[in-house]
Amino acid sequence: MPAETPIAQLNMAIEPAAADETPAAVKAKGIGVIGWVAAVWLILVVVVAILAPVLPIDDPEAPGAGRALPLFTEGHVLGTDSSQRDVLSRLVWGARASLTVSVGAVAMGMVFGGTLGLVSGYRRGRIDTILSSLFDVMLAFPQLVLALSLVAFLKPTAPQAGAGEVVEAAGGLTTIQILILALGIIAIPLLARITRATSLTWSQREFVTAARAQGAKDLRIMIREVLPNALPAMFSIALLSVGIAIIGEGALSVLGMGVEPPAPSWGNMIAENRSVSRAPLNALFCPVIALFLTVMALNYLGDAIRARFDVRESSL
């Protein structure tokens, strides 16, 4: 058989060469300039929100007297609102409330939606059909209306208690917790769907079959093989969802169902000052701009992260 001689002659020492050079293209590829700018802004917002109690700023809820102060006034860089409260201080404390609500809601969506989506995409078949229909039903509700009714349901008879006091609902939940629950329930089907779609494709790759051939159990395969591959897409969507949740909290505040005044959130700051004819413009536009920049930063960072991991994927 002449055809076998070339095979026998070729030595196996030919090939180990390609892997010695490190893939510089992959390593140098970061998240880009825009990604970094977005990341720096988000880190700033988060750090400021966490440090709010120790920062040398005024009490965000203590009203002063007299007229609202404009921007760049001595002692009030961003001026004051119509109740003479320092806008910068309210912005910082508002970031704390807005971020807690949005990150909490998305975390809840990630945990529950991610789990359901992972199971759905990995197992397929009947479980997938049932869970997917459930997600579809949840997505069919208009989201703001669903959030509104959830908040109203969870906070039955909110006694308009004295100023500065956190309102306790019947179930013992604070307003923040109620908002996290309401927005989290809305986030669940969104994240579940994305997780399901990515898990579905990854579950059909041969390394999953290889894991089964080794005798790995389903739970192990889902956590060790499928989840790490689905995570970048999940994180990217989660970042976008944080932006949506911040806006959602704002929308609920505008409708009077958000964080209870006088405690500030970006949403209720906008709500309180939305009547342009009476409110000072700095008190309206400072939270609007902060909200805008943060949501945009979340979007860009989400995109940058996805692009970063897509490149690695396509280099395979």
């Binding site: 076998e4 095979i7 070729l10 490190t22 290889a210 894991a211 080794q214 005798g215 591959n229």
Partner: protein, 353 residues
Amino acid sequence: MTAPSSEPSAPPSSGPSAEPLLAVRGLVKEFPIRAGLFRRTVGAVQAVSGVSFDLHRGETLGLVGESGCGKSTTGRAVMRLIPATAGSVVFDGVDVQRAGSSALRALRRRMQIVFQDPYASLNPRMTVQAIVSEPLRIHGGWSDGGAERVRDLLDLVGLRPEHANRFPHEFSGGQRQRIGIARALALDPDLLVLDEPVSALDVSIQAGVVNLLEDIQDELGLAYLFIAHDLSVVRHISDRVGVMYLGKIVELGTADELYDQPAHPYTQALLSAVPLPDPRKQRERQRIVLEGDPPNPAHPPSGCRFRTRCWRKLELEADGVDTSACSEIDPLLSADEVGHEVACHFPKVRVMV
């Protein structure tokens, strides 16, 4: 063997041990075709239709055939990665198809698979170390010198210890296939199903991987079920070879018997298509070109499945021979006519160059 039978005869190379490591009998795998609103089953793709073979310890059985003939499905059904529709697979006395979950886990230690696509078969988010150690972690052998075992395995397949901390995308196709082989060997199996392990690789690299597989077999005494469509690679590595066409084994014999005295018209057509390194011989040799495509496995032809493309049937009909048996009777594997098993009503040895 006297009577026509689908049971394969014992291979001559197997020595005195009569008990085969792997005995496959009448393996059938059908994929249902569903249609309509209620997803009713309206038919079945007959991917594997009654495949039987034995595989002994330390032996290599090659399975060849064109794309879609059911080679890979056979390999996966043997591993029970997909459930078989009918038939039995007995691995060292244990019925694989009926094994309970703990028995199956024990079996998984002893039979492993290497996949065709080295790009899809390694998890891109795991380091080589994690990939190769995963079988040990699953079966609880990690704490007992697992790191050392991984180092030995990498050394065995020709990778360096410093490769352990890298990710699969940092390797070439051939090196990835070596990682896949190291992973399959981690549990010290008795049987390796090699599902086209070199088909996706560059020709220059195929040789390295094939030689590696042979070295490993010599060292560890593994049995290989080597699935491929490259006939010269299969001859190089196999002790016995089975040729598959449309879900059935049409010819089964030792590598020398099959390549030097092929008796089935399909085997002869396949062999006539193997490129020869000598261009003069290549120009002069006779080629048998099959007309048309393989039939739809959802509606295979009656009788002999190869009859729709069989060149010998046409030759015989031209000579006035009655070939009605071809379309009426499904030929069984039989070693009566020629020295090895052929599933043909009119087997005839024809020496292919």
